[in-house]
Symmetry: C2
Subunit: 331 residues, 2 copies
């Protein structure tokens, strides 16, 4: 195992200086500290050897997700994670992340520099710089809704999207719908790709035909509602499944503007069961993610990785929450 | 919540008799006890209400798998499970299962009758009668290598087969192999289907062509080695991936008999890393399943189900263990 001595020799500085840099002493410059950390990661120095009484720290790294307000999507995920981690003696720090910050230092250097033993990462897109680094990172990380192949210290947790779409499509089919469209987000995210595939697969499984005119996806909700929704309606869909509830809500509003009643003329199903979804007009039928359970499973997967149990993926069941945005198909 | 009274009324017997039947009293006939249990399950009576000081019992249900000897495949799985369950105060009973026993009583009735709160099920094939019942069962069950759709009290745990085959195929390709055959077990098992699909997917991902003559699968190892292996060799495969190590070992022996040297003429990769795989001639390169970790994850998934966290699947990373049955491709 590499020691402080190895770092000192490699950089031609004293062991004392290395130790100070690793322990965030005030009298070490930021530039030197950065070099020490980078060298430490490079030679595989283990962070749990920094000092004996080092804090037991985990972090939740969040991007593109509200977690501060109880109605924010991340709130219950963070809550579920903390609820198990804190009684186990962990300090859990929340870190808001951006692509710029990721470019400034590598994931492993960031984790070592902050003495975090592991990270629970929420909201990353496929273009985030750390997504590439995580393929070979050595500090345990659990990613919500993102999958990294083969690295035994990285896990993927999420919802079984395929089951969610199977349930939604089977339910619509039962009510007589055969022309079921899909509106989704841009393919720069693992989960948007997964949900789109899940839609295609569920349609096929239920022997329903798919047309390219009844599918639309875009980064912008407005593009989905203004560009794609009218095309779907022209092509006589009787139901639309949306990749998330905010989009489903916008779709319902725009259907009304275009003279279509939800659910009498057109049925709409969302995904997530966001906090507002019971209060839309009409209340939204949606595929629920149990966010508190996601947080708990995130903690379980992270402690498993810390104990050298290499979890590849942990998926929760989806649940179809039936409200009022779905009706029998209009003849 | 249904009570003992509801069972008594439904059967037209006294509450006392129902209680005795549920508590295995000697003075209740087996026939009556069976009717009480079946009625209890039918109306959704909850087993944790049987009596206040009921034992905290889980079971591991095993079929077609050696778990008694330390070299048996199931031994470490059972060990990993018990290692976590017992300190948590659970009694863990091992139950050897057959299709006949499954036909005699339903899963839920069996669980209620034995006061088991949950089951970890190993070695079931798709034709086992309880596989159908598990789709709607109400007693938590974690299945190793079997997947039941949608039921929120049933989880699937196993190894990420796709990653395992990706690693094996990529490794062989690196060594110059392009003609890689597959020998597998019969498709009556979920995991055999999954591994066959994983092989096809990995070949496609690595841009290698697949021919139907270089694929064989059968319930009988002898059919694989005597019928399919010669065909694979005639079709000039330079490497063979087998669905489990016992088959891989038989394939190596038969290659030698047919005048092919392993690994000089033909490379062989197994799956599982069975206890004998380090001692075959030559020692077998294989895709490892961490069986102790499988047992630990089985326990985690089962306690999650008992706490109403609906885990759909939990997959562990596969690991490629490189020994001596693989060499560079012969030109």
């Amino acid at each position: 195992m590499p020691t402080i001595n190895d770092i000192a020799q490699k950089l031609g500085i004293s062991k004392g200086t290395v130790s100070k840099a690793l322990n965030n002493a005030d009298d070490v410059s930021e530039t030197l500290r950065k070099r020490v950390l980078e060298t430490a990661v490079e030679i595989g120095y283990q962070k749990n050897r920094i000092r004996r009484n080092a804090p037991k720290k985990l972090c939740i790294i969040i991007e593109n997700m509200d977690y501060k307000s109880p109605i924010g999507f991340g709130y219950d995920i963070v809550m579920g994670f903390r609820k198990l981690a804190v009684p186990d003696g962990w300090e859990v720090e929340l870190v808001e992340m951006t692509a710029e910050l990721q470019e400034q230092q590598s994931y492993d250097v960031f984790m070592l520099g902050n003495e975090y033993k592991g990270a629970f990462i929420l909201g990353f897109s496929l273009t985030d710089p750390w997504m590439e680094e995580l393929k070979t990172a050595s500090t345990p990380a659990v990613l919500y809704d993102n999958y990294i192949q083969e690295n035994p210290v990285v896990s993927y947790i999420g919802i079984n999207n395929e089951e969610g779409f199977d349930m939604a499509v089977a339910y619509l089919k039962e009510l007589g719908h055969t022309r079921i469209g899909y509106l989704g987000g841009a393919m720069e995210s693992h989960v948007m790709k997964a949900r789109y595939s899940a839609y295609l697969r569920a349609m096929e499984k239920n022997h329903l035909s798919i047309e390219k005119e009844t599918i639309g996806y875009s980064y912008h909700i407005s593009e989905c509602t203004q560009k794609y929704l009218p095309v779907l309606l022209q092509h006589k869909v009787t139901a639309i499944i949306c990749c998330h509830d905010a989009l489903a809500n916008a779709v319902m509003t725009h259907c009304a503007e275009l003279g279509y009643r939800v659910p009498q003329d057109i049925s709409v199903i969302g995904f997530d069961d966001a906090s507002f979804s019971a209060y839309t007009i009409p209340p939204l039928t949606t595929i629920r993610q149990d966010r508190n359970a996601l947080g708990r499973c995130g903690y379980y997967a992270l402690t498993s990785l810390l104990n050298h149990t290499a979890i590849s993926s942990l998926l929760l069941r989806a649940e179809l929450v039936k409200r009022n945005s779905v009706d029998v198909a209009k003849q």
